[in-house]
């Protein structure tokens, strides 16, 4: 064989190797690390797991296009076990030992404010994915590093009041878990319904503890007060047991299905788990629904495309509703980093204020004044529809939260 040819081949090989080396150096750029404290076990684990997966889905999409500022994103998930103290412990560990650049996560209204304190100490931007308590961004608790991609108890409670105000009822009862979220959502609802319908009387208020397993005594006690409608914040994986036990007591029937379930009682997860036992005709809310058909054609296109990717990622034609919350939260963070052109938390914090993203549900703004996203929720009436193995919300609509934001 010709020696020059051999030499040429060798040079080519060398160049090839160099090329590989060069690209691998580029790829070896340290990734941007995002700590992700989330409920991954217990009753709430069924929601935390899809949230994490939704966040990872966004991260994979961004990384496939080369990441942000030329760097990849890496999620560092930790299980908060549905306990505020554990959330604090893992958040601290993420900041101190794992050297994460940002925190995104938390589920309950117990965990959110607790992790917010850590974010303030560490001066790291923290985006709360799911906690709704107004306390998180109350004037005395807010600081430059805490942002919320979730809805909050003000908008959720007031949206519920708007729906209930149209009902022909006078005697109203409430049932909510006895912790920040349940208390705040009920307070916001009661204040607003009293404004809209001064003739309505609150005849009973029950406060079972979070993760109560036996709702029967609460249900019978409430029925004893003869309400005509019930407002519920039974959330966080507890709606199943509640609905089963309430159904057995004839609860929904005796109030003529005048029931409104907050706390994502209308999520795919809850609808699927209860199946044929889901109380038909009641109102419930959810963050997302694969079957939702937005009126706006552009939003419809975005949402359909997202749902398709979600189905693939979850290998499920009826993918969970919570994944979108993880997705949107990561979208805010990454677009904030892009706008700031830096991973410095102070700069990202400034960039996030007033930032508008185009989410799979349309435009959402991170308001500058209270660092709260204009995140609405889907509300609808549970019904059986052909082609679905479990009940869905139909009709269902996205209620604009800016109607209720101060």
């Amino acid at each position: 064989m010709d020696t020059t040819f051999m030499q040429l081949k060798r040079i080519k090989l060398l160049l090839g190797l160099l090329g590989i080396l060069a690209t691998s150096i580029a790829f070896a750029q340290v990734p941007i690390r995002v700590g992700f404290p989330m409920i991954l076990s217990g009753a709430g684990g069924q929601f935390g797991t899809p949230i994490l997966k939704g966040a990872q889905m966004y991260v994979d999409e961004i990384n496939a296009t080369g990441g942000v500022l030329g760097r990849k994103i890496e999620l560092v998930p930790r299980d908060t076990k549905s306990r505020p103290d554990e959330a604090v412990r893992v958040a601290r560990e993420l900041v101190l030992r794992e050297n994460v650049d940002f925190l995104v996560g938390t589920f309950t209204s117990g965990e959110g404010p607790a992790v917010s304190v850590i974010a303030k100490e560490a001066k790291k931007v923290f985006i709360a994915v799911a906690p709704k308590t107004d306390r998180l961004t109350a004037p005395d608790a807010i600081h430059p590093y805490v942002f919320r991609a979730a809805a909050n108890t003000t908008t959720e409670g007031r949206a519920a009041a708007m729906i209930v105000a149209k009902w022909n009822i006078k005697r109203l009862a409430t049932i909510a878990p006895d912790f920040a979220y349940g208390r705040d959502a009920t307070a916001s609802f009661v204040a607003h319904i009293k404004k809209l319908r001064p003739d309505i009387e609150i005849v009973d208020q029950q406060w079972p503890k979070l993760n109560e397993s036996d709702y029967t005594p609460f249900i019978t006690a409430q029925l004893g007060k003869k309400p005509e409608a019930v407002f519920s914040v039974i959330c966080c994986g507890n709606f199943d047991s509640f609905a089963r036990q309430a159904g057995a007591q004839g609860f929904f029937k005796s109030i003529g299905n005048n029931f409104i379930g907050l706390g994502e009682a209308g999520s795919i997860e809850a609808l699927r788990a209860l199946g044929g036992e889901y109380p038909l005709g009641v109102y419930a809310n959810t963050y997302d629904a694969f079957y939702w058909k937005p009126k706006d054609t552009e939003v419809a296109r975005l949402h359909a495309a997202f749902t398709k990717r979600l189905s693939t990622a979850f290998k499920d034609d009826t993918p969970p509703s919570w994944a979108l919350q993880g997705y949107i939260s990561m979208q805010f963070l990454v677009e904030g980093i892009k706008k700031a052109n830096s991973i410095d938390s102070d700069k990202v914090s400034t960039a996030l204020k007033g930032l508008e993203i185009v989410s799979p549900q349309g435009k959402i703004t991170m308001r500058a004044k209270d660092q709260q996203a204009t995140r609405g929720m889907l509300w609808g009436k549970a019904a059986n529809r052909d082609g679905y193995a479990f009940p869905i919300l139909d009709p269902v609509e996205l209620i604009d939260p800016t109607l209720f934001m101060d």
Partner: protein, 294 residues
């Protein structure tokens, strides 16, 4: 405050009794195991949780044959209990309570992870059988037939266990073991076999309760931790190791909790805990417990 109607009080009593009877099924096993084996089994709630998961699994395999699923779930829990007794629990009978607590707590953690690994964190549900889906209506009082069935089954089992303990040779041996096991083994009784039987029976009862609760509640990881606290409150009130004490403790727990919700909703849990605290101070061995249990 407007007073609740008679039917509301009736409904409250039935719901309290349902809670009480389900808890009794589980607590009786815990109490029996402590009374005979002197083992403080913190993992007892895990067997209850396993019963619920087994019920779901059998119900899925058998496509909705509910009663068979409940029975198989209880048996499976009993068999698993027997296996674990042979391999693990047996080694801790004569250890100090702290060791037992630490060991059985580690079993709680292991079981909860295994459950998550096998069944995932998604909550599962079992449909109640059609014949038990309706509600008896007495005027304004609505009584779900499923709750009544649980009360009846539990009462039958309570009486059954009591007759077994009082009237049969096996029952006498079990009671004798609770008093003096050295003497018993000297008399030629196979104490190891007896322990295996008692432990397995306790697990069977816990599994049965878990299977029966499955259609009323969501089957989720964490069921174990939720129930164990209630169980300990019950055995403290009634007397650890005492059969009727456990029964009484369950009734008190269920009723105080249930009527607490009706009259002072904010303090229902507080009331139960208060009773426990008072009993710990005034009568530490529990209402029907024997003094100086060792």
């Amino acid at each position: 405050m407007e007073l609740p109607s008679l039917s509301a009080i009736g409904a409250q009593a039935v719901s309290g009794l349902t809670t009480a009877m389900l808890l009794f099924l589980v607590a009786s096993g815990l109490s029996l195991i402590f009374g005979v084996l002197r083992l403080l089994n913190f993992a007892h709630g895990s067997f209850y949780m396993l019963g619920a998961y087994f019920a779901w699994q059998f119900n899925t395999w058998l496509q909705g044959s509910f009663w068979l699923s409940v029975l198989l779930a209880a048996i499976a829990t009993g068999v698993l209990g027997a296996l674990l007794e042979r391999v693990l629990f047996r080694k801790f009978y004569d250890r100090p309570e702290l060791m037992q607590l630490l060991f059985t707590y580690s079993i709680v953690l292991i079981v909860s992870d295994v459950v998550k690994y096998i069944w995932g964190t998604q909550q599962l549900g079992v449909r109640r059988p059609e014949i038990l889906s309706h509600t008896f209506q007495f005027g304004e009082l609505a009584l779900p037939s499923y709750n009544l069935m649980i009360i009846v089954i539990s009462l039958v089992i309570a009486v059954g266990i009591w007759l077994l303990l009082q009237g049969t040779r096996l029952g006498k041996t079990v009671r004798a073991a609770a008093f003096d096991r050295e003497m018993l083994s000297m008399l030629g009784v196979d104490v190891r076999m007896l322990y295996l039987l008692v432990f397995s029976a306790g697990c069977f009862l816990a599994g049965l309760a878990g299977a029966l609760v499955a259609p009323m509640s969501a089957i989720v990881p964490g069921m174990d931790a939720d129930i164990i606290i209630s169980l300990f409150i019950i055995v403290v009130i009634g007397g650890l190791g005492s059969f009727w004490g456990t029964f009484l403790g369950s009734i008190i727990y269920g009723m105080v909790f249930s009527f607490g919700i009706l009259f002072i909703p904010q303090f229902s849990l507080f009331a139960v805990a208060l009773i426990m605290a008072v009993i710990l101070i005034v009568k530490p061995e529990g209402l029907l417990g024997r003094e100086n249990t060792r």
